[in-house]
């Protein structure tokens, strides 16, 4: 095996060759390379991201040596961007690493088109004003953006992308697509050919539960006016029926059938999440629609026509007690149906592409196939702009969070992180940044927080003295361990955005390192 592939073995098992290829194509820009930014990039460089560009105008100071692993004693007085860049390059020579010695704020103001060359920008330790400006630029240029900030024992991570669509969301737990309550002719035919009353005990205990449930479901239906068990009593009764069919205590297939009977009772048709996606106005496609939405449009047609209310079959089945022969045949039946559904969907995709004036083969087969198999798991994530979040707050949400014990510290920090930026805009330093005048800083921060709460439409609510005091105590410190958490989370989200696998966070993550009751706030 070639060395790079071996090196990435443990992550290829998570996001596969395709995910890795997407990472290796991506170019990432980092703004500010303190520990938060450095740690974010470290995790991405190790994973083999294509290129990194570090933007930071500062020189390495004595204090940086105590919080950033990417600088050492010999870096004192040198460009921080240069030092961090050269250490990161050591970690992985496959990554193209470069740096620009300039303050991000200046770049945002003077050279907004600079950002258009990147796949994604990681903006660390920016204050509100720069965040709003950068967000506007990145949305304009269609560059993904993620904000990360460490501040004392708190911090935040926030994604800002107009829309992120996911085909391979790879959820941990998802109901198998078995169609037990709605078997197609081939599956029913296969089940019918197997005799549940077979005398041979070895054969009896190797009938796969899929067959048991399809047949028993049909049997139940004939004696119950064509409906499957629907209430608790009927479901219990059905399970008793299954139990009664066991001929020996060690029949794992029947035990599995009892445990899996909920799959037979599950409602037919599509989930409300998927319903929402096919009802989205973007599913009305035109020449500028993305591949994803073209495929959603085709899926919508499929569900209404050939699918009879269902999506294309996923085609894989879980392991279950069975003879090898039955299991392999069952796999083939599921795969054949999945393949047939995919071909129908593909045809619909090609027709839609033609209709909107695009090359009918502009979406690769493999993409449509993946879409077809993952149709039940599609995800659409949207994030409003930072400006919108700030100008149009959600007072009802904020109030709910502030009065909920599990959320109050996290949302308190969210508000205070905004308050310290207002404070800094007024007083040219962060509260508690210097050792003198802490008491004055505390009372000023309190006043700032009250006026901010007022602007957020939460005038009746207050933050606790304890929290305000702590925020001043933090004095804008960028602690290494907090930066490593925030940078770790930011890099994980970057990977999800770039590989288009798994589901990125859809809120503002407010980190609470005090008791670790951090929360994802649904404000964006």
């Amino acid at each position: 095996m070639a060395e790079p592939k071996t090196k990435y073995d443990r992550q290829l098992r998570i996001w596969g060759e395709q995910g890795q290829a997407a990472l290796e194509k991506a170019s990432i820009c980092l703004l500010n390379c303190g520990p938060t930014g450095s740690e974010t990039l470290k995790n991405l460089v190790l994973g083999g991201v294509g290129s990194i560009t570090i933007v930071d105008g500062s020189k390495v100071e004595f204090g940086d040596l105590g919080n950033n692993f990417m600088v050492d004693d010999s870096s004192l007085g040198q460009s921080k961007a240069k030092c961090v860049c050269s250490f990161l390059q050591e970690l992985n020579d496959a990554v193209k690493a470069k740096f620009i010695e300039e303050y991000p704020e200046a770049l945002i103001d003077t050279n907004p088109s600079f950002f258009s060359q990147f796949t994604l920008v990681v903006a660390t330790q920016l204050v509100e004003e720069s965040m709003v400006k950068l967000d506007r630029i990145c949305r304009q240029e269609n560059v993904m953006l993620i904000f990360a900030r460490s501040y004392g024992l708190t911090g935040l991570v926030r994604i800002s992308v107009k829309e992120h669509t996911v085909i391979e969301s790879k959820p941990d737990h998802f109901l198998d697509d078995l169609r037990l309550n709605n078997p197609w002719p081939e599956l029913r035919g296969f089940a019918e050919a197997i005799d549940l009353n077979v005398q041979d005990p070895v054969a009896h205990k190797h009938i796969p539960y899929v067959v048991i449930l399809v047949k028993m479901g049909d049997e139940w239906k004939t004696s119950h006016g064509g409906t499957l068990p629907s209430n608790r009593e009927q479901k219990r009764e059905f399970k008793e029926l299954l139990k009664a069919r066991m001929t020996a205590m060690d029949e794992d297939n029947y035990k599995e059938a009892i445990d899996a009977s909920f799959k037979l009772f599950a409602p037919q048709g599509i989930s409300s999440d998927l319903q929402q996606i096919i009802n989205d106005s973007r599913a009305e496609v035109g020449s500028s629609s993305s591949d994803f939405w073209v495929m959603v449009a085709a899926l919508k047609e499929f569900i209404a026509n050939e699918g009879g209310g269902e999506v294309p079959l996923e085609g894989s089945i879980p392991d279950m007690t069975s003879s090898t022969e039955h299991y392999v045949n069952l796999q083939k039946i599921y795969q054949a149906k999945s393949e047939a559904d995919y071909l129908v969907l593909e045809e619909r995709v090609r027709n839609i592409l033609k209709k909107i004036g695009r090359d009918p083969h502009s979406i690769p087969k493999a993409t449509i196939k993946s879409f077809s198999k993952n149709a039940r798991k599609l995800k659409v994530c949207r994030y409003r702009s930072i400006e919108d979040e700030y100008n149009n707050p959600s007072p009802a949400e904020l109030q709910k969070y502030l009065t909920d014990e599990d959320y109050s510290i996290a949302v308190g920090f969210y508000i205070l992180l905004r308050a310290v930026d207002r404070y800094a805009a007024n007083f040219n330093h962060f509260p508690g940044q210097f050792d003198g005048g802490l008491d004055e800083d505390i009372s000023r921060l309190k006043t700032t927080a009250v006026s901010l709460l007022n602007d957020l439409g939460c005038s009746g609510l207050t933050l606790t003295e304890d929290l305000i005091n702590e925020m001043c105590r933090f004095g804008a410190a960028e602690l290494h361990a907090v930066a490593a958490v925030i940078g770790g989370i930011a890099s994980q989200e970057v990977i999800k955005l770039i590989t288009k696998q798994f589901v990125p966070m859809t809120g503002t993550f407010a980190f609470n390192a005090i008791d670790h009751k951090s929360q994802l706030l649904n404000l964006c």
Binding site: A477, V482, A484, G488, I489, D515
Partner: protein, 448 residues
């Protein structure tokens, strides 16, 4: 910037350690003294120098700790390089602990890290007592269980069965798998120990041998057939070595043949390795998050600079981002962190008889036990030198070896069988000699 403080390397950490706070631990005493004491006196052991261990060493070195040690028995492999950032390609084959210690010391001046390239069981139990806090960056249940038992063995209870605070050895433990992970704080006697909540780690599901032999259904079944059944049939006497590429290739080839025979798709070399070595996917970001959370807790336990996690944090980044704090409760009857297994003996019982009894005692079930009493070796099974030195004790009454103390605590290390797997284990035993202690009679009365 008129009143800027003089330049300090701990510029950021000082805010936390030198200033009074409101949401802090009960013992928090901010000031320069605290910062200096942390550097001078706090000693942290990092167990494991892998994905979590590398991060832990870096994070601790940049969080005010100067005296660190790290223990790991492994050597660096190519597959470590996507996350174990202290290692380079040219380090492959070298001991992880040594390279990790060297790299962190090179970059963070003033930090001293002592590496131990050995198994955790190779160290005396007393070795572990030297540390203020033990940070665990492990990937196996057995190793966690062992360190947990060691740390809990230091815990002493007073006559009212209340744990003595000065004997508590706090641990922080992290674990990751793909996008998921956990961080927890274990203060023996206060929060649940690893064994109290062992159910959080369900035993690995194994395929029944009859499935492998008779009704394989998927690629993993074919691979395990080649690995567990076919290998022994063909290579009589030669044991399978998962790190030998020729062995792995043989298993892969056999698995392919079997899959073809049964018409089963999906056997690949990568899957073969995954199944045989039980590979857990691992990435840098999750390790970074979990290790940093563990480091924050280590700092808080050592300094009181903030409230601590109580007591189990889970992180899941698969679908969105979910974190959750759960306050698990201690199992008051826990054999490991409780006051210890009570064993009643006649004063005539010899040490040999006692060791034999431990094999039979349903609460212990330990074979090949070595016994220590207040740090003194009564009998050691290994190494041979110690075995020889302590052998003569075997025929002496335990009562005499314990200086005729009617009731006291002994430590036994040996092997236990769990889920068909042998593992090292340490147990605290409360020995009471019949008729020598009033409390015993009361216990007997209660039990009768």
């Amino acid at each position: 910037m008129a009143d800027a403080a003089p330049p300090s390397k701990s510029r950021d950490l000082d805010k936390l350690l030198l200033r009074p706070g409101n949401l802090v631990g009960p013992t928090f005493d901010p000031g320069v003294q605290l910062r200096d004491d942390l550097q001078e006196y706090a000693r942290v052991l990092v167990v494991g120098a892998g994905g979590l261990g590398c991060e832990l060493l870096k994070d601790l070195a940049l969080s005010g700790f100067k005296n660190l040690e790290v223990i790991d028995m492994d050597r660096i492999e190519v597959t470590n390089l996507n996350r174990q950032f202290l290692f380079r390609l040219e380090d492959v084959g070298k001991p992880k602990a040594e390279v990790a210690a060297k790299r962190v010391m090179e970059r963070v001046s003033g930090v001293n890290i002592v590496p131990h390239f050995c198994r955790i069981e190779d160290k005396d139990v007393e070795f572990y007592n030297d540390f203020s806090i033990i940070a665990l960056g492990l990937d196996s249940i057995e190793a966690r269980s062992y360190i947990n038992a060691v740390a809990c063995s230091f815990l002493e209870y007073d006559s009212d069965d209340n744990p003595r605070e000065e004997t508590m050895k706090p641990m922080v433990d992290g674990g990751t798998e793909g996008f998921k992970g956990h961080a927890r704080v274990i203060v023996p006697g206060v929060t649940p120990c690893f064994e109290c909540t062992i159910w959080l780690f369900p035993p690995q599901v194994k395929f029944p041998l009859c499935t492998l032999a008779e009704t394989p259904r998927n690629a993993a079944h074919c691979i395990e057939y080649a690995h567990l059944i076919k290998w022994d049939e063909v290579h009589s006497g030669q044991s399978f070595d998962p790190d030998n590429p020729d062995h792995m290739k043989w298993v892969y080839d056999e698995a392919v043949k079997r899959a073809q025979l049964f018409g089963i798709p999906g056997v690949t070399y990568s899957l073969t390795q995954g199944v045989v070595k039980n590979i857990i996917p691992a990435i840098a970001s999750t390790n970074a998050i979990i290790s940093a959370a563990c480091t924050l807790e280590t700092l808080k336990i050592a300094s009181g600079c903030s409230k601590t996690l109580s007591n189990y944090l889970t992180y899941n980044g698969v679908e969105g981002l979910h974190t959750k704090v759960t306050e698990f409760v201690k199992d008051k009857d826990c054999l490991v962190c409780g006051p210890g297994v009570l064993i009643e003996l006649d004063t005539t019982v010899t040490l040999k008889k006692f060791i034999d009894m431990l094999e039979e005692d349903p609460k212990v079930l330990m074979t090949k036990a070595s016994i220590t009493y207040h740090g003194k070796n009564l009998y050691m099974q290994a190494p041979p030198v110690l075995e020889e030195m302590t052998r003569s004790n075997l025929e002496l009454p335990l009562y005499d070896l314990m200086d005729k103390t009617p009731k006291d605590v002994l430590h036994a290390t040996g092997t236990i069988n769990k889920d068909d797997k042998k593992s090292s284990c340490l147990r605290k035993l409360r020995v009471v000699f019949k008729g020598m202690d009033g409390v015993t009679d009361m216990d007997m009365a209660g039990g009768a």
